[in-house]
């Protein structure tokens, strides 16, 4: 029982960390001279690095918003899990936790899809933040479904 609990908690924390790293670092697209998006476009010029704000287009802002919302919902689901762990009646299911976690995964999926579709440079490589976002999506979905199935004992 304790192993399952720890495993589920570890998965949740992993998803949370993945989401934070993916949201915070600006490496969604990489190229030879720099990296761009989500928040900054940085290019290496002759004298060093020059960074400017990411383009203000609506889709970038939507991706930003969805990633932030995913982080927030994941955090809220972590809090809800902690709360329900101690306050739920015996045999109950972690509904709140799983709802928020599934919502977080939906948001990450939307963000990643919007970014993939609307990206202007189709020939440049993807950076690690983009990959982490796509990895976080199924992990958070699985985590949410586990919470749905999990029942509280003792």
């Amino acid at each position: 029982m304790l192993c399952i609990l720890l495993g589920v908690l570890a998965l949740h924390l992993l998803v949370f960390i993945l989401l934070i790293v993916s949201t915070a670092s600006s490496q969604w697209t990489v190229e030879a001279q720099g990296h761009t998006d989500l928040w900054y476009n940085c290019h290496s010029v002759s004298q060093g690095y020059r960074c400017s704000q990411a383009s203000n287009e609506d889709w970038i802002q939507a991706v930003q918003a969805l990633m932030i919302l995913a982080v927030v919902f994941c955090f809220v689901s972590l809090l809800a899990f902690a709360y329900q762990l101690f306050r739920l009646f015996k045999g109950g299911r972690f509904y709140f936790t799983s709802i928020f976690q599934i919502l977080a995964s939906v948001f990450v999926m939307c963000a990643a899809i919007i970014y993939t579709v609307m990206r202007p440079d189709s020939d440049k490589d993807y950076g690690y933040s983009y990959v982490l976002a796509w990895v976080a999506f199924p992990l958070s979905l699985i985590s949410g479904l586990i919470y749905l199935i999990l029942r509280k004992k003792d």
């Binding site: 990411a54 203000n56 930003q64």
Partner: protein, 323 residues
């Protein structure tokens, strides 16, 4: 108010000119005098003699019986008498005086030296449309009063260029603007230097005006400072401000979440209440019929009062349930 250069280290050894500069406050200013006199409390006895020379009228009561006989006098003389009595002041007063002395040392001794520099503030970045006017603001902070020789200088460096040209200058009460270069007749000094504002207005912007504008302000004798720059970006059409859509989406989703939670709890509460209020209205009707036999129609306030009491009871019960 002059902060003296010689006022170092709390003026302990330099009781003469330094003290005069600071004790230029009127003796009626009791708060400051306490601070000053607390400094004296730290000083050697020689400075206290000087103090009594400065305030010609000595305290009227020399009674060694302690502080209790002196409250009628002004705080200046009170503190002076405390020190004059010396040994009769107890430990707590001594520590308080020492703390005050330390604080005043920090405030009067160290602060003016550390912040002789002038700090200039401008915006970080300004966005503007082609053909429009933009006002670049520049203000400064200085520990000294605004002198008549306050000066502002605006320089411009185009994007990708290494040269800096001067485009506006204010000195000696007169404003001078560019009359030969790129900004000829387009720059106007609109600031109010008496109020520390050295802003300029640039009219009829063009794409070639993209660049960095540097403002340098000097307030003699406070001249040490770093100029501050503002970047001007000229657009054809203003892009959406960064973060507006982001904030809107986040706000809407979180607001919906809060709304859903509130509605959920409200529905639960209302359903429970509706069940209970049915019983109340039945009771209310019975009571009404009963009271009608005795008096006229019952006032309408009664059923609502009963409902309020019932809802409060229900709230308490639901709280107990949750626990």
């Amino acid at each position: 108010m002059q902060s003296n250069g010689g006022w170092k280290g709390g003026g302990m050894g330099r009781a003469g000119p330094g003290m005069r500069g600071v004790v230029g406050y009127k003796p009626g200013d009791s708060g400051v005098s306490v601070v000053v006199l607390s400094l004296l409390a730290f000083c050697s006895p020689s400075s206290t003699l000087f103090f009594f020379w400065f305030f010609p009228s000595p305290p009227s009561s020399h009674a060694p019986s302690g502080v209790g006989t002196l409250p009628r006098q002004s705080p200046v003389r009170f503190a002076a008498s405390v020190h004059f009595l010396g040994g009769s002041s107890n430990r707590s007063q001594k520590t308080m005086l020492r703390v005050l002395a330390l604080a005043s040392v920090v405030l009067l001794g160290i602060a003016p030296q550390a912040s002789q520099a002038i700090t200039v503030y401008t915006s970080w970045e300004r966005h503007a449309l082609v053909g429009s006017d933009v006002r670049l603001s520049c203000t400064f902070f200085s520990w000294r009063f605004i002198s008549d020789d306050v000066s502002f200088t605006w320089r411009y460096r185009a994007d990708g260029s290494r040269d800096t040209v001067s485009i506006a200058h204010y000195a000696g009460g007169e404003a001078y603007t560019d009359n030969k270069g790129v900004f000829k007749d387009r720059v106007e000094f609109v600031g109010n230097p008496k109020r520390r504002d050295g802003s300029i207005l640039i009219k009829n912007l063009d794409f070639s005006d993209n660049g960095t504008f540097t403002c340098d302000a000097k307030n003699p004798p406070d001249i040490v400072g770093r100029p501050s720059s503002v970047r001007l970006l000229v657009f054809e059409n203003l892009p959406i401000q960064a973060g507006v859509i982001t904030g809107a989406i986040i706000g809407v989703v979180l607001g919906l979440l809060v709304l859903i939670v509130v509605i959920y709890y409200l529905m639960r509460f209302l359903v429970a209440r509706r069940v209970f209020s049915l019983n109340v209205s039945k009771h209310g009707k019975k009571k009404k019929e009963g009271s009608q036999q005795r008096q006229g129609p019952a006032p309408p306030a009664d059923p609502s009062k009963m409902k309020a009491a019932a809802s409060e009871k229900k709230k308490q019960e639901s709280r107990k349930d949750k626990k």
